[in-house]
């Protein structure tokens, strides 16, 4: 294992130009996250958690500063390269699951494989991953709207995992689930972390944050403590 961190933020700022004036969502943040870490991001509303997640998920680029993911500078990449990195290196798990409503549970998991290999999956990988997160196989032809929240989140995790990403970005993954299901989902994430995935998790819930190795507190766009 080399010493380069999997994710490195150097002096990252994100400024939104609003009519009411400039709003600094991230203020000169520097941060390293190593491969295999389990990091929780906490902070009150408006502290910059979502902006931070967008930056880590390369859905956005910083106003100033540099973000390096797996050694590559995000700012220097083309749009298409960023798209491919989102597809291959990062897995997203959202609070609202964000499954594709027109696709079945199975197809939702197969979808990233199709994006990557430009053909339907014939290897059985999608089914295997669904099974590994404890998804009921009988439900695999169901549309997301026919599934419970817990099942939907399992599909979402399977979708995030299917292209074997290095990083799992989880934006309040238990926020829409009851407590019991929430802990089941957390167990899955802990297991994935043990198998080597780098997990970054945004949460309001200190009990959920306790699963992490490291907690980063954000306040007004700055790191208040870690």
């Amino acid at each position: 294992m080399n010493n380069t961190p999997l994710i490195r933020l150097t002096d990252v700022s994100k400024v939104y130009h609003l009519e009411s004036g400039d709003f600094t969502a991230l203020n000169h943040i520097s941060l390293d996250i190593n491969e295999g870490e389990f990091v929780a991001l906490m902070g009150p509303s408006g502290s910059g958690k979502s902006t931070m997640m967008n930056q880590l998920g390369i859905l956005d680029v910083p106003t100033t500063g540099g973000i390096f993911i797996a050694g590559k500078n995000v700012a220097g990449m083309t749009n298409l390269e960023r798209t491919h990195m989102r597809r291959d290196v990062i897995g997203y798990i959202f609070q609202k699951f964000y499954l594709i409503p027109l696709l079945s549970a199975y197809e939702n998991v197969e979808y990233p494989l199709i994006l990557k290999y430009k053909k339907r999956d014939t290897t059985g990988r999608a089914s295997a991953v669904l099974k590994s997160v404890g998804f009921d196989e009988e439900l695999s032809t169901h549309r997301p709207s026919q599934l419970s929240g817990g099942q939907q989140q399992r599909v979402a995790i399977a979708r995030a995992l299917v292209n074997d990403p290095k990083i799992l970005l989880c934006d309040e993954p238990t926020g829409n689930l009851d407590r019991k299901t929430g802990f089941q989902i957390m167990d899955i994430l802990v297991n994935l972390n043990k198998k080597g995935k780098t997990v970054i998790l945004v949460t309001h819930d200190p009990k959920i944050a306790d699963y992490a190795h490291r907690t980063i507190q954000l306040e007004d766009g700055r790191i208040a403590g870690s």
Binding site: N79, H84, Y98, L103, E110, P112, R120
Partner: protein, 397 residues
């Protein structure tokens, strides 16, 4: 292997089935409008052209006006001579050449007097170029066949006798006997002779009465291949009008050209009117596609955030436009056959040309245009969808 983006588009169309169908109906109407109007115009053109082209393969050679040199006597006749006829035959090559005598004179049927054209032709030639609807063709010396109009007007029957020539007390007028009545030719004479009002007799009878045994009033050349028209005309001109203009060479092709071009402008015009309906259809497709994009903003956000390329998003929406286009074009194509056929039959009263390639091509043509209109209408919505910001799109509800 089925494309998942095509699947997504298909499912989206199915999910909003009624809306999609309504948008497609616009295309259906557009396709039907273009196809039926195009077919109507073409059928009209084909029919008129066909009516006019009967007779287009005929070159008519008539004597030119005689202009005598000052001082020299004006020749007594300006007919086509035997020598000129031979030259025409040479120039015409394999094509049939028929010399015709013609005069205008009075005749009497019983107590009725009339005036009309008398044509003198070789009986063998008559057989070749004229259609007898009743009776037989000319066999005997004083046999005659008559045109449909003259037969109707004078109530001529087979066997009726016609006295030919100006009434003259001192001379008994020669008599011919009607042995056949010709089919009506109408405006389009298929043999280059206006026979409806004519009495046709054998050339030998004609010359015995009107003289001019080796001279003719008109020579018709019947072309075997109409595309050789200009070449044959040039050949005749070169051969017969060697030194000076002695014969006039004419055909009816210019008439067809001008009528055809008029009709083709009319077709273009009605097609343009039909296209307006496609413009309306384009607007409705555009509208539906924009609705589809704005309803699926969050879905687009998801797709983009998990690594879908912009091109793939564009493809998904273009497929959707394509599906709407296919539905519209197929229904429109089927309806075009039915409606187009009815319109053509009703307005032209003749569907003989409907299934000719020139006419039926408007159906695939209309379908293709309908689909192109659909895809073009989907271009901007697809582009817009692919250029959404994933963060904003995800946040949309």
């Amino acid at each position: 292997m089925k494309d998942i983006f095509f699947d997504l588009s298909l499912r989206s169309v199915r999910l909003n089935f009624l809306r999609s169908l309504l948008a497609s109906i616009g295309i259906v109407i557009g396709v039907v409008a273009i196809s039926s109007m195009g077919m109507l115009g073409t059928n009209m053109q084909l029919m008129v052209k066909d009516q006019l082209t009967t007779g287009i393969n005929i070159i008519t050679v008539t004597p030119d006006v005689v202009r005598a040199e000052p001082g020299s006597p004006v020749s007594s006749s300006n007919d086509i001579t035997e020598i000129q006829l031979r030259d025409i035959r040479d120039a015409a090559g394999i094509n049939e050449v028929i010399p015709i005598d013609r005069t205008n004179t009075q005749f009497s049927i019983g107590s009725n007097d009339g005036r009309g054209s008398i044509y003198g032709l070789d009986p063998d030639d008559i057989k070749n170029i004229m259609n007898v609807s009743e009776g037989t063709t000319i066999r005997g010396e004083s046999d005659a066949i008559v045109g449909a109009t003259i037969a109707e007007r004078f109530n001529l029957k087979i066997g009726t006798r016609i006295k030919i020539g100006e009434p003259n007390i001192s001379v008994t007028r020669p008599v011919v006997r009607v042995v056949g009545i010709l089919t009506s030719a109408g405006l389009s004479s298929s043999n280059g002779i206006n026979t409806d009002n004519a009495i046709i007799v054998s050339d030998t009878w004609y010359t015995s009465q009107f003289g001019g045994g080796n001279e003719y009033d008109q020579v018709n050349v019947y072309l075997k291949d109409v595309s050789t028209l200009t070449a044959v005309e040039d050949a005749i001109d070169k051969k017969v009008n060697r030194n000076k203009e002695v014969v006039r060479i004419s055909d009816s092709s210019s008439r067809i050209t001008s009528v055809s071009s008029t009709l083709s402008s009319i077709t273009t015009f009605i097609l343009a009117i039909g296209s307006i309906s496609l413009l309306v259809a384009a607007t409705s497709i555009f509208n539906v596609m924009m609705m589809s994009v704005s309803e699926r903003v969050q879905e687009i956000g998801i797709l983009l955030s998990i690594g879908t390329e912009k091109g793939e998003i564009r493809r998904m929406f273009l497929y959707e436009a394509f599906i709407l286009g296919i539905i519209g074009a197929v229904i429109g194509g089927i309806m075009s056959i039915i409606i187009g056929y009815s319109v053509v039959s009703a307005m032209i009263g003749n569907s003989a040309y409907f299934f000719l390639p020139e006419s039926i091509v408007y159906i695939p043509g209309g379908m293709l245009i309908g689909m192109i209109v659909c895809i073009v209408s989907g271009l901007y919505p697809a582009w817009r969808a692919s250029n959404l910001d994933p963060i904003d799109a995800l946040r949309a509800e």
